[in-house]
Subunit: 144 residues, 3 copies
């Protein structure tokens, strides 16, 4: 049995952005030498997601608008006027902790014949909901 | 260490449907000979989900109605009138890419004593959000 | 290759609550002797979630309010007045089956150097949406 572990660093200058990490995950799987197994890819921060969907900028803009409707950014601390109790800690990112639950923390992808075993349009992304600082993504390969 | 890999094909004639894949996953786990490990089950298409919940048609109809409220089907391309930018690619399935994020891409299930290790009501389903064509589900077993 | 399996029992007296299971998962990983691998932690019941986010009571109260907005508790059986078809089975917990889809069934966490490999604020929680009875959480360790 083999394992491989790598932390990817990202530094998103905007508050929110969707960034492809697909090639990084492919590279790490290749370097691991694992022919058959699984790779876990997860955000290490709780205001970000890793997800698999389409590499299409229109869809990404749709996600942005939709998530903002489901759980709007609001730096306030009063829930009766759209704020969040979490922001009483001095943060303004309560919405980001919610958005990440919709989009998910992690993906687990199969490895077959030494490659990511994906459908034709599956692409691995990192979704930053509270950027403007360095953050990490964990890639863990397990298999043989 | 053992692994087993199988792609399941589905061909849903409707746009949307919830289909049990539980017996297929059980069969593949049994054929793998793995006594202790994990099985990953994921949609290979980005307008579909694999999820675990109740085998109860009323609940499934509730999900349908709820998801349609959260992110309505709309073939339009203008967000200001309920459409989606993604549909400018010529697709009409932008809602499906959103619904799949709510319901999830994948499940990972433990295998113990050669069986799926599940709670009493856990049942594995495929949720099609944009059918009327052949699609695949990946089942990957890893363990010993 | 090593595996370790344990079911954690919880008995939440309220209908809904967020409970830390972080220390239990840490203990099981430590007892497994696995230095490098993955741990799967999942609710065994379909009206509950396991998720990773902040250990902050304000955020947890925000989640409560937000989930109640997205899918309100309603024991009724008529969808046209806010009820759910699922409740025709005699249950009143249809909302719980929806809330659990938002927050997720499971997390998969990497193990490196014999420890949970987590970011600085990642904390593992169980989210009960329909308590007042004994329920189980499954922890499955796999690695070497």
């Amino acid at each position: 049995m083999k394992t491989q572990t790598e932390e990817l660093w990202v530094d998103i200058p905007e508050r929110r952005a969707i960034v492809s990490i697909h090639n990084d995950v492919e590279r790490i799987v290749s370097e691991s030498g694992v022919q058959d197994g699984m790779v876990l890819v997860n955000a290490m921060h709780i205001t970000a997601s890793v997800f698999i969907n389409d590499y299409e900028s229109g869809l990404h803009a749709d996600y942005e608008r939709w998530l903002e409707e489901l759980v709007p950014f609001n730096p306030g601390t009063d829930p009766t006027s759209g704020g969040y109790l979490h922001n009483r800690t001095g943060e303004d990112n309560a919405d980001a902790h919610h958005k990440r639950q919709i989009m998910g923390r992690e993906v687990v992808v199969a490895i077959t014949d030494g490659q990511l075993h994906l459908g034709p349009w599956e692409h691995i992304f990192y979704y930053e909901f509270d950027g403007r600082r360095r953050k990490r993504i964990l890639v863990k390969v397990i298999g043989h």
